[in-house]
């Protein structure tokens, strides 16, 4: 498989588009948790019950299409290889829990991979809409539309007092988790994030890192999401998150300006060194790769580096994760081998861009 082909396959089409505030907000996501009234929730369902619910849902949603989203493809977890599942996890299309809860789970994905509907995760249905850049309202509107469409086919577990009934009490009510993925290198370099993160928590929002093992904020990429799902309308939840993220964008812009004003040469040095490491290293650990990718992305956003696409950060963050590396090189790799292959893949990716810049005959 050629690298270009692999990237096209590995990076979701929706991710390649540029959204509003794309220099800071990488993506916006809305997730709705829904259950069917007819069946026990997947967490306690017997295998037989889980299968029944799965096929009931499959029959009504497989190969169906919703407006311009195209047809939904049905991927059943017990028919996928573990490497394929890992790739779906690394693309954020399924949660790592999806095939742990029971083998009888599946995901519906549209062509551009902007919408995924997990079936039999912790809840019967988890509708997820992903948009590039800062587009929470757009994502909510789409998720609501898909929700109405699905609800026209199934009886939901809903109660007037408690709202949408979910398996976990932390999701009940709206069943809504709204989140944005933000790249905050300048707030990290200037160490202002230390003060900002606790302030964000004051608003009932959760801040965490997303890439890497566990929750370390690899590549200075953070996820901000709502914690409360009950007693607030969907619009208010999204609006409160939007307000905080807007301030965060402002703060990051100020920090970037300050860096340029007060330590431009140091910043340029840092960015070019990282570029050099990515372009030439032969062994690179995921942590170092993430740091360098963050620097280079900042360089692109500040106009210091040209000739590389912005999406290279998200793209290579995904591509250089263990599942993708093994998928690309078609073999299972030890951590040491991964570091070598990671360096190779990053070099090839950067060269690909440089070759494209040269005139072709």
């Amino acid at each position: 498989m050629s690298l270009q082909h692999f990237i096209n396959h590995a990076v979701s089409p929706w991710m390649q588009a540029d959204g509003p505030d794309a220099d800071i907000v990488l993506s916006s996501r809305i997730r709705l948790a829904r259950n069917l009234s007819e069946f026990a929730f997947p967490v306690i369902a017997s295998k037989e019950q889980a299968q029944k619910a799965l096929y009931f849902i499959k029959e009504k949603l497989e190969d169906e299409s919703y407006h311009s989203l195209g047809t939904f493809e049905w991927l059943q977890m017990n028919e996928l290889q573990s490497i394929e599942k890992r790739v779906l996890v690394e693309k954020h299309l399924i949660s790592p829990n999806l095939d742990k809860e029971s083998g009888d789970s599946a995901v519906l994905i549209n062509e551009s991979e902007s919408v995924s509907i997990m079936v039999n995760e912790e809840d019967h249905l988890r509708i997820q809409c992903l948009f590039p850049g800062f587009q929470l309202n757009e994502a909510l509107t789409l998720a609501n539309g898909i929700d109405d469409w699905i609800e026209s086919k199934f009886d939901y577990a809903f109660d007037e007092k408690r709202g949408y009934l979910t398996s976990c009490p932390t999701n009940v009510g709206t069943g809504l988790r709204a989140s944005v993925m933000v790249h905050l290198p300048a707030l990290m370099i200037t160490q202002r994030m230390n003060r900002i993160a606790p302030a964000i928590n004051q608003f009932g929002l959760v801040v965490r890192g997303i890439y890497g093992e566990g929750s370390e904020a690899l590549g200075n990429v953070f996820q901000i999401s709502n914690q409360i799902t009950l007693g607030k309308s969907e619009e208010d939840i999204v609006e409160d998150l939007r307000g905080v993220v807007m301030q965060l964008i402002q703060q990051e812009k100020v920090a970037r300006r300050d860096l340029l004003k007060m330590s431009k040469i140091q910043l340029e040095d840092r960015i070019y060194r990282s570029y050099g490491v990515l372009a030439h290293s032969r062994i690179i650990h995921s942590k170092e790769a993430a740091k360098c990718l963050s620097d280079v992305r900042l360089g692109i956003d500040l106009g210091i580096i040209s000739g590389l696409p912005r999406t290279i950060l998200n793209e290579l963050m995904v591509l250089t994760q263990p599942g993708f590396l093994q998928h690309y090189f078609k073999e299972s790799l030890t951590p040491d081998e991964r570091d070598v292959r990671r360096a190779t893949l990053i070099r090839e990716r950067i060269q690909l861009e440089q070759n494209q810049d040269e005139p072709r005959d």
Binding site: N35, S37, F39, A40, F41, V43, I44, S95, P96, N97, E122, N144, D147, D148, E151, S152, D155, Y156, A157, F158, D159, E160, K161, R162, G163, Y164, L165, T166, S167, C168, P169, T170, V172, G173, T174, L176, N194, A197, P198, I200, N201, Q202, G204, V206, V207, R208, G209, G214, S215, E216, A217, Q227, I228, T229, L230, G231, K232, S233, E234, I237
Partner: protein, 172 residues
């Protein structure tokens, strides 16, 4: 910011924990969070899930004063989940569980959702038609009251007619 537990590694998890109504800010590194059971490995959800089973277990002793000597009197008739089992796994088994355990839910929901116990968001479009209509009528009745108090009788009459129409028809 350093981790408040080990004071060595940087804190990467930041959240507000609400215990017995008191808000506490928690800043932990990955390792300490895992050790303290504040995080589920590989989960996309945050620590609240584990925190929650802590809350639920805390609720349990209160049940002892309930007077019932039968072990585990509360059991969902639809899925068979008992209240004890619910507090152990921190998850409901079906929609009926919410009704079965209803009396015990308010304190739990209040702690998890900043004092909230009732849903005020979306209502399912197809199934919730009646609820939506009923809510709309209630809203209009509130509005009618206001208008009468403000002596805006012309508007009030219009609102009253609208309420009547909605109460009669219901399905448009």
């Amino acid at each position: 910011m350093e981790c408040q537990e080990c004071h060595i590694r940087p804190a990467t998890l930041h959240f507000t924990k609400i215990i017995n109504g008191h808000k506490t800010e928690v800043h932990l590194c990955e390792e300490c969070a895992r050790e303290k059971g504040e995080i589920m490995a590989g989960s996309n959800a945050f620590s609240i899930h584990n925190l929650l089973s802590g809350l639920l277990n805390f609720e349990q002793p209160m049940e002892a004063n309930g007077g019932s000597h039968e072990h585990d009197p509360l059991q969902c008739p639809k899925c068979g989940l008992t209240y004890n089992e619910f507090t152990r796994i921190g998850k409901f088994g079906c929609d009926e569980c919410y009704k079965t355990f209803d009396e015990k839910l308010n304190p739990i929901l209040r702690k998890v959702h900043s004092g909230n116990t009732a849903h005020i968001g979306k209502i399912p479009r197809r199934m919730g038609k009646d609820i939506s209509a009923r809510r709309k009528i209630l809203d209009l009745k509130d509005r009618l009251q206001e208008l009468v108090e403000k002596e805006e009788f012309e508007e009030a009459a219009k609102t009253r007619d609208l309420i009547r129409e909605l109460e009669r028809g219901g399905d448009q």
